[in-house]
């Protein structure tokens, strides 16, 4: 196995070096205008430039603030709503088709309407992103409660548990894996909706950064922005979202559905 570890890192080095070399070569030789494919060095200098001008921290800061706000809202508002809807069969059957429909219409599709209601401002972005995050969270929390195997509920009933205890000891823990998945899915949609909303509304943020850079043919900034968008999501996902999901599944070893 040890050999494989070295083998993987060496393949890594080879692939990275080769792709950077190919990129620089293509940038230098391809018969296209410069702004079509800036070399890696141009992206690095764009990074230095945007840091020196204090623009990059603002763009990253704005985007992160919005997505983390949506995450908090999703967790502390979306999850409770989903659980409440899921607990009683009546509301669950009523809410399921509605939630399914509204979840399928992404936040971005609502953007034109939001522009009319809230205009080209921060509020439109926040509503669009939070809508995109909230519905998958609520939908999956409801799904989670409904998918708890009835055997657990019956066991507690035989022990004379009250409805509240059944909710606390079975329905909520049982729904956790779905809740974690719903949060991850919601934020994945939300992150993309945020980038799109920032492009359309033109407020500071990574979406705006790459969209605005395109207008001035600053392709190096576009590539830098894209790299950061991808890297930020991976960091958020790896450090916050996957642990959330693994903690719920790992603890109970439950397989969803």
């Amino acid at each position: 196995m040890g050999r494989r570890y070295w083998e993987i890192t060496s393949t890594w080095v080879v692939i990275l070096a080769a792709s950077i070399a190919a990129w620089s070569l293509a940038a230098a030789t391809l018969p296209v205008p410069d702004y079509f494919l800036p070399p890696p060095s141009a992206v690095l200098s764009a990074f230095g430039d945007l840091m020196a001008k204090g623009m990059l921290p603002t763009f990253v800061g704005e985007s992160l603030r919005r997505i983390l706000l949506a995450a908090l809202l999703g967790l502390f508002v979306g999850v409770p709503i989903g659980l409440l809807l899921g607990i009683s069969r009546g509301t669950a059957d009523f809410a399921y088709p509605v939630l399914n429909f509204f979840q399928s219409v992404s936040g971005i599709a609502w953007l034109p309407l939001l522009l009319i209601w809230f205009g080209f401002g921060e509020r439109t972005i926040l509503v669009a992103v939070n809508y995109t995050v909230l519905f998958p969270v609520i939908f999956n929390a409801l799904l989670g409660v409904r998918s708890v195997p009835p055997i657990y509920v019956n066991v507690l009933r035989t022990l004379g548990a009250s409805r509240w205890r059944i909710v606390r000891d079975v329905l909520v823990p049982g729904a956790l894996p779905n809740i974690a998945m719903g949060v991850r899915l919601g934020l994945a949609y939300g992150w993309r909706a945020l980038i799109a909303a920032e492009m359309l509304v033109g407020a500071n943020g990574l979406g705006f950064m790459i969209f605005n850079a395109q207008a001035f043919h600053l392709t190096a900034r576009i590539m830098l922005g894209m790299g950061i968008i991808g890297a930020l999501w991976l960091a958020l996902d790896y450090f916050l979202l996957r642990p959330l999901e693994e903690a719920t599944i790992a603890r109970w070893g439950m397989v969803q559905r």
Binding site: I8, K53, Y238, R242
Partner: protein, 131 residues
């Protein structure tokens, strides 16, 4: 959606099997949050401390008086649209001279906020800056 669908195993290809996944798991996300908090806090502290150096002493009386002032904000580079829009949120941008932005009717509090931007070189009284 299974756990791996959107994530990746870039940073954990060869995890030691000795430590149980759960301990490592909690460790990883808590460290991330701590590092972010400390970095953010340190950064704000750094900005707060370096801010006064950027304000020209001549502006002190106007600041203590509490009335809006007209200032010249000198940057280390020619301002882009981004900076102009930023300054417009603090006062009225009356002109740009190379790397200096002329900003009128800035309240003392806003002035201190502008001074916190690390990319701002110096904030001086406008008349003197214009000559």
């Amino acid at each position: 959606m299974d756990g791996g669908a959107l994530g990746l195993s870039l940073l954990e290809p060869m995890k030691g099997s000795a430590m149980s996944r759960l301990v490592l798991l909690r460790h990883r996300s808590v460290v991330f949050l701590l590092v972010m908090a400390v970095a953010w806090g340190g950064w704000q502290l750094f900005l707060a401390m370096t801010a006064p150096q950027r304000i020209d002493p001549a502006l002190q009386p106007a600041l203590s008086a509490g009335a809006p002032v007209a200032v010249a904000v000198t940057l280390g580079f020619a301002p882009e649209n981004f900076h102009i829009r930023l300054f417009q949120s603090y006062g009225v941008v009356s002109g740009v001279r190379g790397t200096t932005v002329l900003l009128n009717r800035v309240s003392p509090d806003d002035l201190r906020r502008i001074a916190r931007y690390y990319w701002v070189k110096r904030i001086s009284v406008q008349s003197e800056g214009v000559r």
